[in-house]
């Protein structure tokens, strides 16, 4: 059936390489590498493929784009702007859109890919967070990911600024205002960044170099490291049958995963091409060239800057002037604190969690979000915090579309970013514990079969049946928390690790992490903790009245 030797052409070239590089040993080891499968593992792939598409389309655009702020009078295909003074950057972007065949398509695919890149990174990070896939030994990849997301924000902002249209100039103006507000060095940074006063002549060429060379180079390096580490450590698996800490179950890289991931790249490119063809994005010719005195209402940045925009909008106008100096908290705080909390929090989270739980083991099988309620709840609190700031970035659009009071919306968010995350934490944690209870029930009593039985003495009850094997494996993947040794033993001697204020904090946090855990476990035949009704194995019934 299957041939045992490869065709001569393949065999010969592989041998040629092997003689020089020893590559066949490596390929033999990796050709059938197992990739565990789950739909959510594709999110990171979308980011990877968007990045490749960004490199391809971006290279195309550089062939015509002129990163120059030299003023020219436009006289070209877009007749509505004929005779208008504009920078060469803007004029060449018009040329790409209206005179280079496929130029508009590449521009739109490039912009859509940037939007998708950031969105898929965020979705991927949420997946990693909520399933605990960042735990030892994968903390490094988690940190690299946060680094890439941060760089992606900068990269997007700079790319957005290059065409020098009205919106991009406004974005730069805000960047300048924020830079200027930094205490002590703000005005210097501003002058050095812009080569003088805003807008000057230098900013577009400088951003261009950073946008096409520096940051993509950094991201490319980080992507490579991210992939190599992932490959080396093997991908995490979902807690399903056949997946354990010691083994990974799935289809081999060659041919299945290779073909699937290739198809996935094509899907990503295809959908982006579809968007680029039929969904307009950033029609710079409608905005006109940048004019520092002009602006349009409802101007909005790309989505990933929305959280900063929202923070700037809802911040109260606090400013201090004393001893001849001014500190603008109304700009500084929103520009640094919210994202600082989210990114720093995300970066230290794996280490804090390991410290609190005392869990220093390797983890290759993911946790179901319900089985780590504090983690899941914290994640949802962060999502709410980020989400509210993000929506606040569109407070004028909300006010306009829903006929609400601008002031009311702003105050709603000012209060909401504190209360919202708290509520999200509490509600999420309750939901997680509820789901744990349900799991405990399924394991303890079996599943409701929907079959009503009448006993000889006339009582009705519903029959419960043991859950299917796959489901049981998934549910039983929960690791029940074992209570830690008390902070002090009977003779009042503190346990190691719980001494001093840090030790106290750790014990308290540990209790908060574990105290309401609901054990999900199989009982041989004895009593069950919750209902007192035993029996899993047989098809036993319980009265409906319960």
């Amino acid at each position: 059936m299957s041939q045992t030797t490869a065709p001569q052409s393949v065999d010969a070239s592989l041998n040629w390489l092997d003689d020089r590089l020893g590559s066949t040993t490596f390929m033999k080891r990796n050709l059938k590498k197992v990739f565990p499968d789950h739909w959510s593992f594709m999110l990171g792939e979308i980011a990877l493929y968007s990045f490749i598409i960004l490199l391809l389309t971006g290279t195309f655009l550089t062939l015509w784009f002129q990163p120059s702020m030299q003023e020219v009078v436009y006289n070209g295909s877009y007749t509505k702007l004929n005779g208008v003074k504009m920078s060469q950057a803007y004029a060449s972007t018009l040329e790409i859109s209206f005179d280079v065949r496929g130029g508009l398509l590449m521009r739109q695919i490039h912009h859509w890919a940037a939007v998708l890149f950031m969105a898929s990174i965020l979705a991927h990070m949420l997946r990693v967070f909520f399933t605990g896939a960042y735990r030892k030994p994968r903390e490094l990849n988690w940190l690299i990911g946060i680094g890439m997301f941060t760089l992606g924000m900068l990269e997007g902002l700079f790319g957005y600024s290059l065409p020098d249209d009205l919106l991009s100039g406004t974005g730069l103006r805000i960047t300048q205002g924020v830079t200027e507000s930094i205490p002590l060095v703000g005005t210097y940074l501003y002058m050095f960044l812009f080569g003088g006063e805003f807008p000057g002549q230098d900013i577009v060429p400088r951003l261009f170099t950073i946008h096409v060379l520096l940051i993509p180079g950094l991201i490319l390096g980080m992507v490579t490291a991210h992939m190599m580490i992932m490959w080396h450590q093997k991908h995490t698996a979902m807690p399903v049958k056949n997946q354990t800490e010691q083994q990974v179950y799935g289809y081999p890289f060659y041919p299945v995963f290779m073909a699937k991931t290739g198809a996935y790249f094509l899907f990503t490119f295809g959908v982006l091409a579809l968007m680029g063809a039929f969904v307009q994005i950033n029609p710079i010719w409608l905005f006109g060239p940048y004019d520092p005195g002009a602006i349009s209402a409802g101007s909005q940045p790309d989505w990933y800057m929305g959280v900063l925009e929202g923070a700037l909008r809802i911040m109260p106008n606090w400013e201090i002037s004393a001893w001849g100096h001014t500190v603008s908290f109304n700009v500084l705080i929103p520009a640094t604190v919210p994202l600082g909390i989210i990114f720093t929090g995300a970066a230290v989270w794996p280490f804090v969690e390991a410290w609190v739980t005392g869990d220093k083991r390797h983890h290759n099988v993911n946790t179901r979000p319900r089985n780590a309620p504090v983690r899941t709840a914290t994640g949802m609190a962060a999502v709410t915090f980020y989400g509210m700031l993000w929506i606040a970035g569109a407070n004028d659009v909300l006010a306009d579309k829903f006929h609400l009071s601008m002031f009311g919306i702003t105050w709603f968010f000012r209060v909401g970013i504190f209360i919202g995350p708290y509520l999200a934490f509490v509600i999420t944690k309750r939901i997680c514990l509820g789901l744990q209870r349900k799991d405990a029930n399924i394991i303890g009593h079996g599943e409701e079969s929907g079959i009503i039985m009448m006993s000889p003495d006339g009582r009705y009850s519903e029959r419960h049946e043991p859950a299917r094997e796959e489901k049981r494996v998934t549910i039983l993947s929960k690791e029940n928390t074992r209570p830690e040794a008390p902070a002090k033993d009977a003779r009042g001697i503190p346990a190691p690790g719980s001494k001093g204020p840090l030790g106290h904090l750790r014990s308290r946090l540990n209790r908060a992490w574990t105290f309401d855990d609901i054990p999900v476990e199989e009982h041989e035949h004895g009593e069950h903790g919750e209902g007192g009704h035993g029996g899993v194995e047989g098809r036993e019934s319980r009265p409906l009245s319960r």
């Binding site: 590498k33 197992v34 789950h38 003023e71 877009y78 859109s97 209206f98 065949r101 496929g102 398509l105 739109q108 695919i109 406004t170 805000i174 205002g177 205490p183 005005t187 501003y190 002058m191 960044l193 805003f198 807008p199 093997k234 800490e245 990974v248 179950y249 289809y251 299945v256 073909a259 899907f267 295809g270 959908v271 091409a273 579809l274 063809a277 039929f278 940048y290 004019d291 520092p292 005195g293 209402a297 409802g298 101007s299 700037l312 909008r313 809802i314 911040m315 106008n317 400013e319 001014t326 500190v327 109304n330 929103p334 390797h362 290759n364 004028d396 599943e447 079969s449 009503i452 998934t474």
Partner: protein, 383 residues
């Protein structure tokens, strides 16, 4: 890379027949169970989430039914042919149609070419993607396999060996026992880190007093030299000097610049000077106007001039609401009261928009001095 491939197809394979059959029709017959009429369907029959976790090629672990495989092959081939047609269409449109009548110029032809090129490209990619997906799901016969996971750490012996080699190298190099060598090396490398920072100095000029004045100052000074009272205001866009009579209707707003900003400023500096000097002129009804203390003569019959650059982060505060006399910055919704020295009514801006002193000369509105405070966002040295 420390992976070694221990295929354990035997263990996994024994699972397969059952797994493979699940997708088929035989499942329901497999476990016939009595079902009471009018009761909900047993939960067990529902597709459970855990099941979908591994999306298997349907053929995995079993012999393909040759007839259905042939069918699948034909379907895949159709998609591949479609992809071929898509890319051929792309090239054909590009060569044959996109360049007609002297090439693509203007909105309509750009849109047309965008639809055709993008549509063909999307067709080609998506058809290929769908074809490959069906191929994987219907035709590939790979079985799921199991591989071992290993702890990445080296064993104790290797670690100890490394430590030994490391320390031996350090001793051999002499860096541990020759402190003078070590310290001077550190000393020599420390300034190297600072050198690139020094190099960045020429990125831009020092701020000095640049942020404290605008082109209004130079223009007014020039006017004073010529014995005039102040510099005329010209309308942004038309560059026409503005008479009081041109701007007599209350409730209107207009953007103005100092006269001569286009002519007397080097071309590459115009935008930069405009970004600081741009000013809004508002005609506030006299009965609602409350001039600030010390600025009683800064307006002309209720016509006031404020900097257009928002004191928050510098967007143009370009929206004016006639009924409330509020000036609104559309970026972050800072709101200023035009009748009351542009004080902040709402939003993140902390300071009023700076006001420009106005007067009348020969029927024209003139500015008699620069802004008395720096315009735009706050900064450390602002005070």
């Amino acid at each position: 890379m420390s992976d070694d491939n221990k295929d354990d197809t035997g263990a996994a394979g024994s699972e397969e027949p059952r797994r493979g059959a699940r997708g088929g029709d035989g499942r329901r017959e497999e476990a016939p169970r009595e079902r009471v009429i009018r009761t909900p369907s047993p939960a067990r029959d529902k597709e459970l989430l855990a099941e979908g976790d591994i999306s298997a090629p349907a053929g995995a672990g079993e012999q393909l039914d040759e007839a259905s495989a042939k069918r699948a092959e034909r379907v895949v081939a159709t998609f591949f042919l479609l992809a071929f047609a898509g890319s051929v269409g792309f090239i054909a449109y590009y060569i044959g149609w996109s360049g007609r009548d002297g090439g693509m110029h203007g909105v309509d032809r750009a849109r047309e070419s965008n639809f055709w090129l993008g549509g063909m490209m999307a067709l080609s990619f998506l058809a290929l993607a769908i074809g490959v997906t069906i191929w994987v799901r219907r035709l590939m016969t790979s079985k799921p396999i199991i591989q071992e996971r290993h702890l990445p750490a080296a064993d104790e012996e290797t670690r100890a060996g490394f430590n030994e080699d490391f320390m031996e190298g350090a001793v051999d190099s002499g860096i541990t026992k020759r402190p003078l060598l070590r310290r001077t090396l550190l000393l020599a490398s420390a300034p190297l880190g600072l050198a690139p920072l020094v190099l960045l100095r020429d990125l831009g000029p020092l701020p000095e007093k640049k942020l404290r004045s605008t082109f209004w100052a130079k223009a007014v000074e020039e006017a004073h030299k010529q014995g005039k009272k102040g510099v005329r205001l010209v309308v942004d866009g038309t560059n026409r000097p503005l008479r009081v009579s041109d701007f007599s209707s209350p409730g209107s707003m207009i953007t103005v610049l100092p006269e001569g900003i286009e002519e007397h400023v080097p071309e590459e500096q115009v935008l930069t000077e405009t970004a600081k000097a741009v000013t809004i002129l508002i005609n506030v009804p006299a009965d609602e106007f409350k001039p600030a203390k010390g600025r009683e003569n800064w307006h002309v019959n209720g016509i006031v001039a404020y900097s257009k650059i928002c004191t928050h982060v510098g967007c143009p505060a370009a929206l004016y609401e006639q009924t409330t006399h509020h000036i609104l910055c559309p970026c972050h919704q800072s709101t200023f009261d035009a009748t009351n020295a542009a004080k902040v009514v709402f939003g993140p801006a902390a300071r009023p928009l700076p006001q420009l002193p106005l007067s009348v000369e020969d029927g024209y509105i003139v500015a008699t001095s620069d802004y008395h405070e720096p315009i735009g966002p706050s900064f450390w040295e602002r005070g």
